[in-house]
Symmetry: C2
Subunit: 278 residues, 2 copies
């Protein structure tokens, strides 16, 4: 029997879009989440400056759009970061802690793609995340479980303004703040919840062996799936050679397959240039 709050209003998935470039990623992500039949709310934090087309598409696929300030002058929290312009985007992601209408939130970067249901993540505690391939004793901040709290939000902002971020982004900051992650086994999500296929070049056999287990792909790094050129039959064209390149292209192809399901509704809104099509 549901209590006063139904499950779907206690828990939410959230992502972030600060500019039109990432909107297509968020729309595909939301559509892929819906396909898992999750009962939870889909929230998109977004910059108020987004174009009307992107905003329209996001409003169609997310349950809730939450505008967040991306400029320092726009809110008092950001004011504390005066003199740290490099931390602007970092600070924007922190706004996910302000979603206090939800008990727990799973944050997903807009460059992630959910391949199967991941609602079991809501059984996890703050801050749960998967190891980062580059240095696996810290977590990758593209996918994480959190408990919204204005207190935590303000402490994070203060922490950021005092300490900055050693990698220039939210990942360095969040790892310093949630430093006990490395020594708290329950907080370590299996890698399949945040698989960064760029590391495919390091260890192709593992990707081949485990690719059927991948729950969330995270296209971390400079080249996002929507930036791939494609052949006339829709296959992404990649530079990678051999088995490693094949695995990566296969995952990029999965993103494009998900895109296909929304292409007729939103494709024209999300791709103003011809990026991604040939």
């Amino acid at each position: 029997m549901p209590g006063p709050l139904t499950t779907s209003s206690r828990f939410a998935y959230a992502t972030l879009v600060t500019n039109d470039t990432y909107a297509v990623g968020a729309v595909v992500l939301a559509t892929a989440l819906r396909a898992t039949r999750t009962p939870h709310t889909l929230v998109c934090l977004h910059a108020p400056e987004l174009g009307p087309e992107a905003t329209h598409a996001l409003a169609e696929v997310f349950d809730e759009l939450v505008p967040v300030a991306t400029r320092r002058s726009a809110d008092t929290a950001n004011l504390q970061l005066l003199g740290r312009p490099d931390l602007d985007v970092t600070l924007t992601k922190l706004h996910v802690w302000t979603l206090t209408q939800y008990e727990k939130v799973v944050f997903l970067d807009a460059d992630t793609l959910v391949l199967m249901g991941i609602d079991e993540l809501f059984d996890r505690e703050e801050l749960s995340a998967a190891p980062d391939c580059g240095w696996p004793d810290i977590f990758n901040s593209g996918v994480f479980v959190l408990r919204p709290s204005m207190d935590t939000f303000h402490r994070l902002v203060e922490f950021a303004s005092e300490r900055g971020s050693w990698d220039g982004g939210d990942q360095g900051l969040l790892n310093d703040f949630f430093a006990s992650w490395a020594t708290t086994p329950d907080r370590r999500l299996p890698f399949v919840y945040n698989v960064t296929p760029t590391s495919v070049y390091t260890y192709a056999p593992a990707f081949q062996r485990f690719q059927g287990d991948i729950k969330v792909v995270h296209f971390a790094g400079p080249t996002k799936p929507w930036q791939y050129a494609r052949t006339s039959d829709g296959s992404p064209i990649g530079k990678g050679q051999g088995p490693a390149g094949d695995v990566l292209l296969n995952l990029v192809q999965r993103w494009w397959t998900a895109f296909t399901t929304i292409e007729s509704r939103f494709g024209h809104l999300l791709f103003k240039s011809n990026v991604g099509s040939t």
Copy 2:
């Protein structure tokens, strides 16, 4: 109070050298281990076919040299692998389980370099290892803690002959055999015990931040430190640009600094070609 066995005879560090190419790595590794003032025995498993110069150098720096068969026909265990020539080197590493005169062994690839004392690893249980950067839910088999046992050895050989190895090496095999590693937090060594600087390209800021904590560097991958060309002042010449390349070159430089301490004694025995010098 020491019991009937002193600490130094209960525990051993072991590495493997199947050909002259890796002998220089093993000699540098042993010298670096000695520099940590470890009381434990240093063992080198080696192919009987090694040249006399390499064998001489290894005999000088290791406490014990243990010849192991690298060819299938040479022992009965290997006979079980008939028809699996790809598993020859894999099987050779498994011989570390035959060192039953020791209660516990820390195996280190010959392409590792110990930067500070790691004797605390002997407090760990079989099979303890650090995550692999390419797929951090499996362990990297360049550094691991084991309990020698003929029973385990035979079971490993049988497992290998039945299942093979999905990555063609010992890492795939050992991960399948010790499959509970991923879900047994005590077995997960911190990454600093097996840092593979090839992943520096993925996440340079983390390497810069944590490089002072590195206990063991593992030069996994095709280019070993002894294969770097060097300038006339001894600095390794690398292709890497920017901070990531600098961190890698710095670690390669540490290997060459360790090499310098043995160069006058063994350099002429270990480098027959001019590889590694300019």
